[in-house]
């Protein structure tokens, strides 16, 4: 397995001179390997946005190190490292730099001095990947939130990054927009095996991941497969998140005296259990 991104005992404080204030990120260690989809979950204020700033070199750790492609991220190699990561932020409006869709996708290519001919090719190709090729000349205020986020993904893809980071990229979208963006990311993964790191408080989004990192008060509270994380049950609710739908249902059914074997994360499992434990007798 090739390591793409890793945090090694990273600690960060916005106010290092005031020791009473808790660190925004404390002693966080994790690794993202090539081809993985990793989700970082936690309620607002759990430190997940700070993690995003640390991995893009907008902030540097007070302690520990951030590695991209096994190289420690420093002020010196910052710009080169940034060309390996593509980032999509929360607010669709505030990251749209270009006057039109194609200008926006070309922005990072222009910054990195890519020659004109190659730019045109890459812009078209990336827009095709997110199925926005018909919108080349559209202006941002004529696009929906979901479409803007797809353009932002295309802008990131144009640089052919090693990892795509979604920093709460779906939290301001309506259900259709969210669906649109998640489907785009899923199909990209199927076709190109892109490595994805998504920072989110949406559990449905986290369930799509291979690996989940659960943040609370700046610390890594738990880590593992979605199954393992959701097995925490009520602990999730106490720490500001929700339970997956199937788990909520399981609990309520058990409370009503319906026999079920264990906890269920997917509807599929729950329905099957309901059948075998109660009807298939």
């Amino acid at each position: 397995m090739t390591e793409i991104l890793s945090f090694n005992q990273v600690t960060f404080s916005y106010t290092p001179e005031v020791p009473e204030v808790r660190n925004a990120v404390e002693d966080v260690t994790f690794t993202v390997n090539e081809g993985e989809w990793v989700a970082i979950v936690g309620h607002n204020g759990s430190g997940k946005s700070t993690l995003a700033k640390l991995m893009s070199g907008l902030l540097f750790p007070n302690n520990g190190e951030v590695r991209i492609m096994r190289d420690v991220l420093t002020e010196e190699n910052l710009w080169e490292m940034r060309s390996h990561i593509g980032m999509v932020f929360q607010n669709p409006d505030n990251q749209f730099v270009g006057a039109t869709v194609q200008d926006d996708v070309a922005f990072s290519l222009e910054n990195n001095g890519v020659p004109y001919k190659e730019m045109v090719e890459r812009v078209h190709q990336s827009l095709q990947q997110v199925k926005m090729e018909k919108f080349l000349d559209h202006e941002p205020h004529h696009l929906s939130g979901g479409q803007k986020q797809r353009v932002a993904i295309a802008g990131a893809l144009a640089m052919q990054p090693k990892i795509l980071i979604l920093d709460e990229a779906t939290s301001m979208l309506d259900p259709l927009g969210r669906e649109e963006v998640l489907q785009t990311v899923q199909s990209l993964r199927e076709k190109t095996g892109l490595t994805v790191l998504s920072i989110t408080h949406d559990l449905e989004e986290a369930m799509l991941a291979d690996h989940v990192l659960f943040m609370n008060e700046g610390k890594k509270y738990a880590e593992g497969t979605p199954e393992k994380i959701f097995a925490l049950g009520d602990k999730l609710v106490d720490l500001g998140l929700d339970l997956p739908f199937a788990m909520k249902m399981t609990k309520l059914l058990q409370a009503q005296g319906v026999q079920l074997v264990g906890q269920h994360i997917t509807e599929e499992e729950l329905v099957n259990d309901l059948w075998t434990s109660n009807f298939n007798k």
Binding site: S144, L176, G240, F245, Q256, V258, N278
Partner: protein, 289 residues
């Protein structure tokens, strides 16, 4: 206070080459004291409708009845202030409207505009800040020093401080984390019940509409296409599909169980609790036979 839209059409940039209708012939009747949901996708016209409820927009055609006031096309609407006091609107991302130096002053802004004495406005602010789940200390802080979720609560308190009879909510939980969403929605529901408010929830969340609303209007491409109680509407899967709306998750799950177990539950369940109870009844019924 009853609110009624009769054959309301609304055009942006009326009389210019950019004229564009956002509403066509919309009919909505909201009875005093009900919890009404207006559902539709972005661009369905739901945010244009909501601005008709307190006279921020005047219909291009048709009539809007707000209590005993009538706002209609071609007539100048005068003295809208009394209406605006009775119909409070919590806009999407309401924290964007905060501007005062302190939270206290910001909450007092609304009531004082409507001529409520300072002492009374302050009393309301102190009461409401706790109601929305914030400690009293925040009153003296600048709203801009608060977290996003706290700012949202302050902005909501600022609308509640006008003590409106009708409360219009436009996606009030957008962008909040799951806990924040649930807390805010439950708070509005409690207020609705305790103070006998008329509540109008404009949303794209089928789940919230199923859980809280007495009646739902579905908007599609500027028209009000369906009206009914949640149970009525969610029974008609085909019609919803036509408007690119999905069933609420709970109803979808009910259908799945019904299919798998080869049963039909007596009613459409709108909450997880309700469904669990219904399923339990079936299971127990089987055990007895």
């Amino acid at each position: 206070m009853d609110i009624k839209l009769q054959q309301v059409s609304y055009a942006y940039a009326k009389g210019t080459p950019f004229e564009k209708y956002a509403l066509f012939d919309v009919n909505v009747a909201i009875t005093s004291g009900t919890y009404q949901a207006i559902i539709g996708h972005t661009g369905s016209g739901k945010s244009t409708i909501l601005q008709h409820f307190n006279g921020l927009l005047k219909p291009s055609k048709g009539q809007v009845h707000i209590g005993d006031r009538i706002i209609e096309a071609d007539k100048k609407a005068k003295e809208l202030k009394p209406i605006r006091q009775k119909v409070g609107i919590v806009f999407q991302f309401p924290e964007h409207q905060l501007f005062e130096e302190t939270v206290l002053k910001d909450i007092m802004f609304g009531p004082m505009n409507f001529g409520i004495p300072k002492e009374e406005a302050e009393r309301r602010a102190r009461e409401l800040v706790q109601l929305v789940g914030l400690p009293e200390e925040v009153l003296e802080k600048s709203p801009f020093d608060l977290s996003g979720g706290q700012m949202r609560r302050v902005a909501i308190a600022g609308v509640l401080a006008m003590e409106p009879e009708v409360l219009v909510l436009d996606e009030p939980t957008a962008g909040l984390d799951p806990r924040g969403q649930k807390e805010i929605m439950d708070m509005f529901y409690t207020l609705h019940k305790e103070r006998g408010l008329t509540t109008i929830l404009v949303t794209h969340s089928m789940e919230d509409a199923a859980r809280y609303a007495d009646e739902i209007v579905i908007m599609h491409e500027g028209r009000s296409v369906m009206t009914g109680t949640p149970r009525e509407l969610f029974n008609d899967t085909e019609a919803l599909k036509q408007y690119r709306l999905e069933l609420p998750r709970i109803v979808k799950f009910q259908r799945r169980i019904e299919k798998m177990l080869g049963i039909k539950l007596p009613k459409v369940c709108l909450t997880e609790e309700e469904l669990a109870a219904e399923v339990a009844l079936v299971v127990k019924g089987r055990e007895q036979t």
